[in-house]
Subunit: 355 residues, 2 copies
């Protein structure tokens, strides 16, 4: 039993930059230069190297790259993977990234601050080139601290005063206003908002922004100085319970604006079960214009904020930041209303857009 017999695990001897260099008869540095198409490479050399790369099917190690320079990977952090709005954002990100040499790696934090922190740290430790955080929970100061180490773009995070990172948002205040205006236009006066009962809802969260917009539009419409906002728990047994309670209230409002389709759709469903007619007894308007809302069976009017576009814009912003921009950008998108039967019987099918 010689030492050689210690079977090295699975040494599938990798094709490294050295292999390529040897095969092409040039130096390692030369290959690296070609890869990064850096300055100082003749056409002849480039050809030789690219041929060798092709012939050997060489792929640079992302781990090694990250150790020294770029990893050509951007991290995307999702608060939650169940909300149908988020896949749209991913689709936007992937769409922009596809033709580039960047790739996206996604982490899911399940809305837990601790996991969120550790995922961001991991992504930094992986030397990813930049981060897109979708609706992060962490406070702005902490994000700023991270942003020193890695370019960051936050989506669905309202902090236009942040200087260390960029933000990309739909104008959630305006979205809520549009919702209220639509309800007013249909003649409803007794309107309430169903919002999210967060443990720690900072002002930066989209939910709070929608509340602000709701209040403002209500006041502007002359409907009292402190319009009613009910908080619905996020977890499943209490959530339905709260909705049922809402639906069976004697002073139930005539119309309701839900912070998310997720809630609006469940509400619609419970309403049907409990014999509350929509929109005759209760008009409902949601947020996100999710695929389910568009189903004829559901037919939920909703505010559309095009997650896809948000993802695209965020990705472009991130890349420009990776490539050197230092001044922060804060981009706003204007949402629009998609009117459907839950708002008014006549609203069926027609998508009336509003600026």
């Amino acid at each position: 039993m010689s030492i050689e017999d210690k079977q090295r695990p699975q040494r599938t001897d990798r094709v490294t930059i050295r292999t390529v260099a040897a095969h092409a008869g040039v130096s390692v540095a030369a290959v690296s230069k070609v890869m990064r198409n850096a300055y100082g490479v003749s056409d002849a050399l480039r050809a030789r190297v690219t041929d060798a790369i092709e012939a050997l099917a060489y792929r640079p190690s992302r781990a090694a790259r990250g150790l020294r320079g770029r990893s050509f990977t951007i991290g995307v952090l999702l608060i939650d993977i169940r909300n149908p709005f988020l896949p749209e954002v991913i689709a936007g990100v992937n769409g922009v990234l596809a033709p580039s040499h960047y790739q996206a790696m996604i982490g899911v934090s399940d809305a837990r601050v601790q996991l969120e922190t550790s995922l961001i740290e991991s992504m930094i430790d992986y030397k990813m080139d930049g981060l897109i955080l979708v609706a992060p929970r962490l406070p702005s100061e902490i994000l700023a601290k991270f942003a020193v180490q890695i370019p960051i773009v936050a989506v669905g995070y309202h902090d236009a005063s942040a200087t260390a990172f960029d933000t990309v948002n739909a104008d959630d205040q305006r979205g809520a206003e549009i919702a209220v205006e639509a309800l007013l236009a249909c003649g409803y006066r007794d309107i309430e908002m169903l919002s999210l009962g967060e443990r720690q809802g900072h002002a930066v969260s989209v939910v709070r922004q929608r509340e602000i917009g709701f209040r403002r539009a209500m006041q502007r419409g002359g409907l009292g100085s402190s319009p009613a906002i009910s908080k619905i728990p996020i977890a499943s047994p209490k959530r339905e319970e709260a909705m049922r309670k809402f639906l069976s209230r004697k002073d139930r409002p005539r119309a309701v604006f839900c912070w998310s389709d997720l809630d609006a759709i469940t509400l619609l469903s419970l309403a049907m079960e409990m014999g509350v007619r929509v929109p005759d007894d209760l008009a409902v308007i949601g947020y996100d214009n999710s695929p389910t809302a568009a189903l004829g069976l559901v037919n939920l009017a909703s505010i559309d904020q095009s997650g896809r576009e948000l993802g695209q814009v965020a990705t472009r912003a991130l890349i420009s930041r990776i490539e050197g921009r230092t001044a922060s950008e804060h981009i706003f998108q204007i949402p629009s209303l998609v009117s459907r039967n839950s708002l008014t019987r006549s609203g069926s099918g027609t998508d009336m857009k509003q600026g």
Copy 2:
């Protein structure tokens, strides 16, 4: 202008293993040993090092780790992020991983073989410790080739003869059988399956497996040797078109089994729009038991395969493989029926489980 003036970008001098070693007054190797809790560390040394780690808030670089040893990251590859079945799998994966020191990074291939390949390669290049592929499109030989380089567990990929990687599946044949048996039990005889029109549907795909199960159960029930299976395109304009056509067919069957809730729900919706009553004119049963199916508004009977559990089982299998197992495992889960109104009026609410 001296050379020093060339502002180094953002040198946030990182706390490295060397910093920790210096702070604790020990060697780099000692710190590494403590990190990996390797053999040959005294309690005193361990204490000194852990204190230093704590004090400096040291985090090992994942990039550097990957270069030499483990990266403590596992990659999850999703074919598609829109199918509501997939978030469940992720939840299962994250649940098992949470207490460990592993972390999941997710890639989304959008069902494109090329992107799938390049994502797998990227994950290998990142020196991830293992891969969970959910419903991959690549042929078994290619997966086997990858499996030489990195431990792989495939979920929703029926190849029990694979020796290079593990598979974790719900028994999709049995699931389809259960669906057909339920329809038969309700007295339906004229049954058709709505399947997926894939470009390249290999036998390993869950869809084909469900077709096989469908055929077998139909034959066993004495309903002809080649029962009808309609293929529905996956892309959006043609998809609805095909469903409308199906619904308006003169020889439309009395009951239909859909390969996925995704299709079943859209079908339900279109049926309502076109005045086809469910289940009176047409009974419908789906697959996946997605959250939307459970809505009172939708009330779709469906085969439940617990994506969460699949994710958990796959993760455990992967970890055991990472830690040395070489014999391949092929795990099967038995799905169950969740009966609802789309199957029969009386089915409302009660979840009748079947083995």
